[in-house]
Subunit: 118 residues, 2 copies
Amino acid sequence: MPKPASLVRNQLKGGHVRGSRTGRPIMVLLDLFGRRWCLRILWELREQSMTSRALRAACDEASPTVLNQRLKELRAAGFIELVPASGYGLTDLGRELLVTLLPLHRFAERWGKAIKSQ
Amino acid sequence: MPKPASLVRNQLKGGHVRGSRTGRPIMVLLDLFGRRWCLRILWELREQSMTSRALRAACDEASPTVLNQRLKELRAAGFIELVPASGYGLTDLGRELLVTLLPLHRFAERWGKAIKSQ
DNA sequence: ATCGTACGCTACCGATTTTGTAGCATGCCG
DNA sequence: CGGCATGCTACAAAATCGGTAGCGTACGAT
């Protein structure tokens, strides 16, 4: 059974759930991102908030089980929040994170072309 | 059984292995990163090349099974390469990718402090 | 030549994670 | 009330990952 919602905080405070055992923030972050749908969720929320079901649709109908697990983890991490009216959306911290992730889009486009033309 | 080494190219050319089914580069990239150890491997190689065994040690002794799977995928993606003399290292493309990923480190540090002091 | 060692990599199997489907409880609005 | 959308969970099957052992090659030292 996965840890409750304080997973990320636990990990950062010295516990370890999986992956990095050092507790260094960058390692915890890299490990958190190395879970299916995690980055994708953040990405889909980059421009607008969405209900959990809209989010699921945006994520190729990923199974609600994992999706909710990720949503818990991302909430524990402080990247997203659930606002009763508008659904899931990025927090201020989440938006900061997205800014650092945004250049990936341009890179991905160049990369796609490079691979296809091989 | 996982696809051979052209996994990423297949996916980008319209096939689908898992995760995103659109084939848009950003989705394929986000899906590729959502696998255990993938980002960590890139991160550990950011400053120097390493032999596969040193890399394994750097990645908390991750199991060689998955590690080699990731290494195959990352090679197929063109981000890393195996140089007989020096081991695994980033390609030019891989270095470009790392540059877009580097701001994460600073963010992670701020994030770690924010979470711990909650 | 024969060790000893390190390398990249694979096989195997048990453990964990993810998927897919169904469904619950709540709230809202006609 | 009845219909509908929401956030979320249960459960079994499938896929992925972890941990250990070990293979085949290369290279340097004895």
